[in-house]
């Protein structure tokens, strides 16, 4: 129920004065309300739940977390090699 699906904003428009967007979910376009992320623009990523965008998704934060874990993973591999060598 609280599942949110990441999607990329294709275009923004208004419906009865409410901010809406067409959002690309891995090739499928759907409409969602973006009233609570008024700064959103085409190209931005967002998390959508029940046809409603919850927040913007930060690509920078996503990459940063992955980079740290990648480094951890490489370090662990090195340690393994040292132990076995």
């Amino acid at each position: 129920m609280c599942l949110g699906i990441p999607g990329k904003i294709e275009s923004v428009y208004e419906d009865h004065g409410t901010k809406m967007a067409k959002i690309d979910f891995g090739g499928v376009l759907r409409e969602a309300c973006i009233e609570v992320i008024p700064e959103a623009k085409p190209g931005d990523w967002t998390i959508v739940h029940a046809g409603f965008a919850l927040n913007l998704l930060s690509e920078e934060e996503a990459r940063e977390t992955l980079d740290i874990l990648e480094q951890m993973s490489e370090l662990a591999e090195l340690e393994d090699q040292e132990h076995s060598g």
Binding site: M1, C2, G27, C33, G51, L57, A62, L69, E70
Partner: protein
């Protein structure tokens, strides 16, 4: 369409990275710890990826009440059924709700008997149905946690903007922090750390949680839904427990900030006010739900329809209440997988795509 997932999101399902974090969890743990994932969506993801079986035996994951369909009270479901039966009503709901057993029937059986019950993907779709059917009354069953509450509020605001007098909601939203208080202050409590639900926090932030963590000396990590998010949330919580540190950390920073979405929070405050709510299987928790503010009372279905006096009747065998509080596991129920299955559910946790019983059934955790 995996090829269309960008690398910065696909990385959160990278098996090598998940193994790295799992290895660090194994290295960090020195003693038993009991954690609760609040959100039923996370319970399902944990079972689906088999993460519970890859964790050290010292770590027990207890499944929380974060399944809105499961905790919606029998009184509210019986009210919904009574409204849905009325001749000029189109009753709209998220799909999960249709098979949840009321005292005597469910929304599916009302539809089978000729009632107009429609599944919607978004509360906004219910507003559209209202605009297209001016001669009918359209009622939306507004369930959900803080994640869903803004969409429910938006539907009310939109109906007001469009001047629709044939749209109303059955207010049934529930709130996480009061449930945390209820769980942690219970004499049966076993929870030592929480995985806080990522999408609730996308809206609310996590500024409400440090006082709770402090009061009950229970660390928490805001956690997302991908396998890497889940093991990261577990690692951060276990590290705090092992270090004897009580804090609220954020393991889902690509979506969640400390403040949360302030525009959404303002929208919630405009439309809703906290009210006491009865949680199915748990009981009444003070100020744990949303009712409509005075200015929006005309959109309250309970004001518009006479639902009379309701006599509720729960299944005598079902242990859903204990499962929802983390006291028992689904497989400890005598009816699990025999009398109670997703086809013939006795309790809501066997119905919902987020219910712990359905997760155990679907992913083959027949006996723990």
């Amino acid at each position: 369409m995996a090829e269309q997932t960008p690398d910065f999101l696909a990385g959160y399902r990278n098996a090598k990275l998940v193994k790295t974090v799992l290895a660090e969890i194994h290295q960090t743990v020195t003693q038993p710890w009991t954690l609760m994932e609040i959100c039923g969506g996370q319970t399902h993801a944990i079972m689906q990826y088999g993460l519970d079986q890859l964790l050290p035996p010292e770590i027990e994951l207890v499944h929380g009440p974060g399944c809105p369909v499961c905790v919606t009270s029998l009184e509210l479901i019986d009210q919904a059924l009574m409204i849905a039966k009325q001749p000029d009503v189109i009753f709209t709901s998220f799909g999960d709700m249709l098979r949840v057993p009321g005292s005597k029937e469910d929304l599916f059986s009302i539809r089978a008997a000729g009632g107009q019950v429609r599944v919607v993907y978004s509360p906004m779709d219910a507003v559209k149905i209202a605009a297209e059917n001016p001669d009918k009354q359209i009622v939306f069953f507004a369930i959900g946690f803080e994640t869903t509450a803004p969409a429910n509020a938006m539907a009310v605001i939109q109906a007001e903007k469009m001047g629709l007098d044939n749209f109303s909601i059955l207010p049934a939203n529930v709130l996480v922090p009061p449930a945390m208080h209820a769980i942690l202050s219970s004499p049966n409590n076993r929870i030592q750390g929480f995985l806080a639900a990522g999408h609730v926090c996308a809206i609310m932030g996590y500024w409400e949680y440090p006082p709770i963590a402090e009061q009950y000396q229970t660390p928490m990590a805001v956690t997302g839904f991908e396998p890497l998010d889940l093991v990261e949330g577990i690692l951060q919580t276990v590290k705090m427990l092992e270090e004897g540190r009580v804090a609220v950390e954020n393991a889902y920073s690509r979506v969640v900030t400390y403040e949360g979405n302030k525009i959404a929070q303002a929208m919630l405050a405009k439309v809703f006010k906290p009210v006491d709510r009865n949680w199915r299987g748990i009981g009444t928790i003070p100020l744990s739900g949303y009712g409509l503010q005075e200015a929006y009372q005309q959109f309250d279905a309970t004001q518009r329809f006479d639902t009379g006096s309701i006599q509720t009747e729960e299944s005598k065998i079902c242990i859903a209440g204990q499962v929802l509080q983390g006291i028992k596991k689904p497989s400890e129920c005598p009816a699990f997988g025999t009398l109670c299955t997703p086809q013939t559910p006795l309790g809501a946790p066997m119905v919902s795509s987020e219910g712990a019983c359905a997760a155990y059934y679907r992913y083959g955790r027949k006996k723990s």
